[in-house]
């Protein structure tokens, strides 16, 4: 992972313009135009071992969080689904089987390595035909207006540079009556859990990452990016601001993860 980043918020107060051009990359401040590349490096680096690490880091619980997301999707045969920042395609695989031959699933991700690993895994599982792979930035989705019945973005939004722009882009491509589900790390609901979780993510996670992927830095970024991500109520109001209605969120595992819902009418 590149270390070519400004590492403390103290050196960003020189001018307001400079301040405006900076954005968090974990706890570091980087130039807005550079964040995409930094995030890309993280996921290029972890792509091959991404699934193993997910199971290890979450003790397999990420599968239940994703299952809950699918249960809340209300998706039916024949529908069109976008799994955004879909990575190795855990959600896309299930959606593909549920929507069947008459439906369509797009697995979109900005990162070519993650898409390649995802495609290989899904083809091996026999998931072909109605699943398409698109390399795309969530902020500028290359799809027509009012196109999807459902959009999911799981553990992806916190990596996006301009989150509001990405949410607006999702709103645009969603059909009226369509639903957006954002599954993301969030803020634990109790102090005790918060402390425990901090200890785990800052001390254990990077070491695990170092052992398995020889890349502790990427997992340090993971822990930091989670803390920098807007908490439950802030994310909900960001969704409302771009036009989503009937928004709500459900905390899981004590708020470590939250599922946000919003509709376009």
């Amino acid at each position: 992972m590149s270390s070519d980043v400004t590492s403390s918020p103290s050196n960003i107060h020189e001018s307001t313009t400079a301040e405006k051009d900076l954005i968090d990359f974990g706890y570091k401040q980087v130039n807005k135009s550079e964040k995409v590349d930094f995030v890309a490096n993280v996921f290029h680096s972890v792509a091959a071992k991404y699934d193993v690490m997910n199971d290890l880091m979450s003790f397999g619980i990420h599968r239940l969080w994703k299952r809950y997301t699918i249960d809340c999707s209300g998706v039916k045969a024949g529908q069109r689904v976008l799994d955004l920042a879909g990575g190795t395609g855990d959600l896309a695989a299930k959606f593909s089987r549920i929507v069947g031959k008459t439906g369509q699933v797009i697995l979109a991700d900005i990162n070519h390595s993650m898409l390649t690993v995802g495609k290989e895994k899904l083809v091996n599982k026999g998931i072909v035909g109605n699943l398409h792979y698109v390399q795309a930035n969530a902020e500028e989705l290359p799809f027509p207006d009012n196109h999807f019945d459902l959009i999911t973005i799981a553990f992806g939004l916190r990596n996006v540079t301009d989150k509001s722009k990405a949410l607006a882009s999702m709103f645009r491509v969603l059909k009226p009556g369509g639903r957006l589900l954002v599954l993301e790390f969030s803020k634990p609901t109790t102090d005790a859990l918060s402390k425990l979780y901090d200890a785990y993510s800052f001390h254990v996670l990077p070491k695990m990452g170092e052992l398995v992927t020889q890349d502790g830095d990427s997992y340090q970024y993971l822990a930091e990016s989670i803390r920098m991500h807007p908490e439950q109520t802030v994310l909900e109001s960001m969704m409302k601001d771009v036009g989503f209605e009937q928004t709500s969120f459900t905390n899981m595992t004590g708020g470590i993860v939250a599922l946000h819902r919003g509709y376009k009418f």
């Binding site: 619980i61 599968r63 239940l64 969080w65 299952r67 809950y68 699918i70 249960d71 209300g74 039916k76 045969a77 024949g78 299930k94 089987r97 549920i98 069947g100 031959k101 008459t102 083809v123 091996n124 599982k125 026999g126 998931i127 072909v128 035909g129 899981m252 595992t253």
Partner: protein
């Protein structure tokens, strides 16, 4: 932790494992592939949807994962949802007690008439679902032979078969032996006469102890 999702993943794993072991699962699932059966279990108010698909073949080879069904948990269905159910979907609300009867295709109409089964959508799908669980053909000896080899599996099943035959044949005499044993064992249990004896012995002991206590008291008085 999302607890219901643990339930749905166990159900999904169980059905896929059973289907993966059966010889005729492709044939049975074909009619259901691309379709969905939703089961509402009345007592626990849980709505499970079974989405069926056939494992795809890529370049003539079966995929690495043999998965026939994905199970999701739905919110309780509204009346509007039931009335506007899609063609490729069936919804059944059923009591836990009636679940085993769902296996018998011939019982479906009877269950509907009795009001034990609230049903919407394509009845044919429910008949196929019923047939799926009824007609699964799992050859346990063959399955076991994949893990422990042909000869041990054959031996184990022959042994299990003959043991079962023997047990059935000797059922009468085994039952007789068991009831005799029960009668024989009875005296070992505490009988009333033994209990009376024990109480008498405790009483004698108690009297002795009282006498000693009285003597000690008298001695103490004498000393003072």
């Amino acid at each position: 932790m999302p607890a219901l999702q643990v339930v749905s993943s166990i159900v999904e794993l169980a059905i896929n494992t059973a289907l993966g072991l059966a010889r005729n699962s492709d044939e049975l699932v074909r009619a259901l592939s691309g379709k969905c059966c939703t089961l509402h279990i009345q007592e626990v108010d849980i709505t499970l949807s079974l989405h069926f698909s056939l494992p795809q073949k890529i370049d003539g080879k079966t995929s690495s994962e043999k998965r026939y069904v994905d199970v999701t948990i739905d919110d309780p269905w509204t009346e509007a949802q039931k009335q506007t159910i899609l063609d490729n979907h069936a919804y059944v609300s059923i009591s836990i007690n009636a679940l085993p009867e769902l296996k018998k295709t011939s019982q479906l109409t009877r269950l509907i008439k009795l009001g034990k089964l609230d049903f919407y959508g394509d009845l044919y799908l429910i008949q196929k679902l019923s047939a799926l669980f009824d007609e699964l053909d799992i050859d346990l000896a063959e399955v076991l032979s994949q893990y422990i080899g042909d000869v041990p599996a054959h031996w184990l099943f022959t042994f299990a078969g003959s043991t079962k035959d023997k047990l059935t044949k000797h059922r009468e005499s085994i039952m007789q032996a068991l009831s005799d044993a029960a009668l024989e064992e009875k005296p070992i249990a505490v009988r009333p006469i033994m209990l009376m004896n024990f109480i008498d012995e405790v009483k004698i002991l108690q009297a002795g102890a009282d006498r000693v206590a009285a003597r000690i008291e008298k001695l103490e008085k004498d000393v003072n």
